[in-house]
């Protein structure tokens, strides 16, 4: 409040103070965002521009001919015989993993917030613990969890008719398996974020609702959830952008079979891109698929941001 009063204040003569203040203010802002900008340029925008150049490049005897390919890499990538199934697989995975992830995280966060206390704090930490296991390690651990011979969930797996790990690890089960892996390693972090968001909901409002006869369930659905919906949108954007890049999970799960064939080498678009580049030597088509993933991620984010007035609400709330 104080800040905005200072900025819009009309009492101080603008022409005297503004030029140096503006410069200093912006300099500070840029200094603060510089590390991020440098990293984003080096590892985000830079590689994307390089991929754009490579996507028009052809190779002769292993040497790049820049802009020598025209659009042929684009037609090659899209008409590749594995492209359709990779898109189909990722769509299947997104349809399962995103709703499960968001619904699960919201439910856990709301449940935790409904009954606060030491027990809840303990649970919150407990949910967070699996997140400490880094990506590939979590997948290796998951392989043991999915093995009916070793898993603590063996009775459940056997109830589904699975006797060995090779019964479980089938290509048709992969979307669910990868969703579970992602859920258990990622939920804790998101629950902490959502819980934090819920702590920000004003106490007066919650108390008023309770006095009006709101049940805990109604409180959660009609009061708390609308107050944190921007976080839901935020989670949607990040999980969409993250999940569409599916790569490590199918790759490591492949190792369950001696023939590396649970998911196959071209299960997701990213795997196809990797395979095209490093197994078939087609860097151009690989770059096209990477760019396509960037495009889909950006498009998804834009639709969600502008469809939900994400930033507008943010600014209104902040001021």
């Amino acid at each position: 409040m104080e800040k905005s009063a200072r900025f819009t204040g009309v009492t101080k003569p603008d022409e005297v103070t503004r030029p140096p203040r503006k410069f200093v203010r912006y300099l500070a802002a840029y200094l603060f965002s510089l590390p991020y900008l440098i990293l984003m340029l080096a590892f985000g925008i830079g590689p994307a521009i390089y991929a754009l150049i490579i996507s028009f490049t052809s190779y002769k005897n292993g040497r790049p001919q820049y802009f020598g390919a025209g659009l042929s890499n684009y037609s090659k990538a899209v008409s590749d015989f594995r492209f359709g199934s990779a898109i189909g697989n990722i769509a299947q995975y997104l349809i399962i993993s995103i709703p499960v992830g968001i619904f699960g995280v919201i439910s856990i966060a709301l449940l935790l917030h409904a009954r606060q206390g030491r027990y809840t704090d303990f649970l919150r930490t407990l949910y967070f613990v699996p997140g400490a296991v880094a990506g590939p390690t979590a997948i290796l651990l998951a392989i043991f969890m999915f093995d009916p011979r070793l898993s603590p969930f063996a009775p459940l797996l056997k109830a589904f008719g699975f006797q060995t790990i090779t019964d479980v690890a089938r290509i048709q089960n992969l979307p669910v398996m990868i969703t579970l892996i992602g859920f258990f390693s990622g939920t804790g972090g998101w629950v902490a974020i959502f819980y934090g968001a819920l702590q920000g909901v004003s106490r007066e409002l919650l108390e008023a609702a309770l006095i009006d006869g709101c049940s805990a369930f109604q409180l959660a659905i009609h009061i708390k959830l609308p107050m944190i919906y921007r976080y839901v949108v935020f989670m949607f954007i990040l999980t969409f952008a993250g999940h569409i890049q599916l790569f490590a999970e199918p790759l490591i799960l492949n190792d369950i079979s001696a023939g590396n064939t649970i998911a196959g080498p071209t299960y997701s678009p990213n795997m196809l891109s990797y395979f095209l580049a490093f197994s078939e030597g087609n860097f151009g088509a690989a770059a096209v698929i990477s760019l396509l993933m960037v495009l889909v991620g950006l498009l998804g984010a834009f639709i969600i941001i502008y469809g939900t007035k994400f930033y507008k609400t943010d600014a209104t709330v902040a001021s």
Binding site: F7, L41, G62, T164, R170, A258, G264, P265, G281
Partner: protein, 468 residues
């Protein structure tokens, strides 16, 4: 508020745009010299190639050009690292010129593409399977050196399985070891049940059905992973991957040589004489520990590394493991066998020290100093004869397995050839997965064909279904 909300945006936008622009410029700036260097290197490469061509034309004896003092980088796995160290000890004057790097060779073809891109970094000598050599032999990778001028006809003739190293008439590698398929069997059980070891696949089928009747629970093979493609289909001269030069491949799963295998396997699978488990599945290992494996067609290294190290480890049973030549189809004039594994040494086309690189791989593959005690069956026949001592007196065998292994190595045939695409993964994806869904091998032959053909085409092969 208005002033602040409009102008800074434009300001931020301009800053970001100029940053991006700067980055592109920087990237281009970086690119130009690289491209130039690349061109120079390419030119240099061309010169070397030209020089190579001239030398080759001048005569095979003077093939070794380059700098005899240049350092070479050797890519090996952990198992073969001691071989290089041994060479260094044997030839101390060369020791400092060899740099050993232990790598996972699966990434070898991909790395070569990256090195081609950057114009530097190639290893000089690589330990890799012939199918990896096939991958780096295409025009995109353009990696291996034609070893023809460096290896005498006499030495070449003493190699078994060298066909896998010959691509369009060029010798791109020297075989290190062989993994020829043989028929492992449990001699004690066979004697006890009164069975004789089958000499033909027809006998193998008949015996399998008999075992299922008389001794249910005992198995005579496994179709659970992609090794089955090599043991059964490769053992029948089935054209799953018959390379017809660098640009053509014959794939025809409907060939009678393939359908006869599918028919046999379906009967044996239905009778449960052949297991749907893979040989490395823990449940299959349990069959081994329970002494339920009556026969197992598999690679030559199974004796030491699977039967001894896994199946018979828990209950050591001396003197029961026998080995027989792979069965032959009655209608065929000869026995065919494929391999599961077995690697080779390949050299970089533009290595600075071709003399040392080729001397090294010749020593590695042919010298008894290393091969006589090597971990796996040597491809060089005189070395294999010396290697014989390592298994001759092993108590696990019912009899000396070496003569059978040696004869079986001679059944490796050039029509089962390394190709640039991964046909085995395709086999596992279609056939192994299909079997688990309860389908028959015969019904999966057509889907396998459909999966293999575009895979081969993506690698630039023209696919034909008949021998030209």
């Amino acid at each position: 508020m208005k002033l602040l909300s409009v102008k800074p945006w434009r300001f931020h936008f301009l800053v970001l745009v100029s940053l991006c622009f700067g980055l592109v410029l920087a990237a281009c700036g970086d690119n130009t010299p690289t491209a130039a260097t690349g061109a120079t290197t390419a030119a240099a490469g061309a010169t070397t190639a030209a020089a190579g061509a001239t030398t080759a034309a001048a005569g095979a004896t003077t093939a070794a050009a380059g700098d005899p003092n240049a350092t070479i980088t050797v890519w090996v796995d952990d198992t073969r690292k001691p071989a290089i160290t041994q060479f260094q000890q044997k030839f101390p004057d060369q020791a400092s010129k060899i740099k050993i790097e232990v790598v996972g060779r699966g990434g070898f073809p991909g790395k070569v593409l990256l090195f081609n891109n950057t114009g530097k970094g190639w290893p000089d000598v690589v330990f890799a399977e012939p199918n990896l050599v096939a991958q780096v032999a295409d025009t995109a990778h353009n990696y291996p050196l034609d070893l023809t001028p460096y290896v005498s006809a006499d030495i070449k003739s003493k190699f078994a399985g060298l066909d896998d190293c010959i691509f369009d008439g060029k010798l791109f590698c020297l075989r290190n070891d062989l993994a020829q398929n043989v028929l492992w069997f449990n001699k004690k059980l066979m004697d006890q049940f009164g069975y004789t070891v089958p000499k033909t696949w027809e006998d193998y089928l008949a015996l399998g059905l008999k075992v299922a009747q008389e001794h249910p629970g005992y198995v005579i093979g496994s179709v659970g992973d992609n090794q089955a493609a090599e043991t059964f289909f490769g053992g029948s001269n089935c054209p799953l991957q018959r390379s017809l030069g660098n640009s053509q491949v014959l794939i025809n799963t409907a060939d009678p040589n393939c359908t006869r295998v599918a028919g046999m396997l379906d009967k044996l699978i239905a009778a449960k004489a052949v297991s749907k488990l893979g040989p490395f599945d823990p449940d299959f290992a349990k069959l081994g520990a329970d002494n339920k494996i009556l026969m197992l067609p598999a690679a030559s290294w199974y004796g030491q590394y699977v039967f001894k190290a896994t199946y018979y480890k828990a209950n050591p049973t001396d003197g029961q493991l026998g080995v027989a030549e792979p069965p032959k189809w009655a209608a065929d004039s000869k026995t065919y066998t494929a391999a599961h594994g077995g690697a080779a040494w390949t050299v970089f086309r533009n290595t600075k020290n071709p003399k040392l690189a080729t001397d090294l791989i010749l020593w590695l593959t042919t010298s008894n100093d290393y091969q006589a005690t090597a971990p796996t069956y040597p491809a060089y026949i005189p070395a294999a004869d010396a290697w014989h001592a390592t298994i001759q007196n092993d108590k696990i065998y019912a009899f000396d397995p070496y003569p059978v292994l040696k004869t079986s190595a001679s059944y490796l045939y050039p029509e089962w050839s390394p190709v640039r695409y991964d046909g085995l993964t395709s086999y596992a994806k279609i056939v192994n997965a299909g079997l688990k869904d309860g389908k028959t091998v015969a019904s999966l032959m057509e889907p396998l064909q459909k999966d293999l053909v575009p895979l081969a085409q993506a690698q630039g092969y023209e696919v034909v279904t008949k021998s030209p």
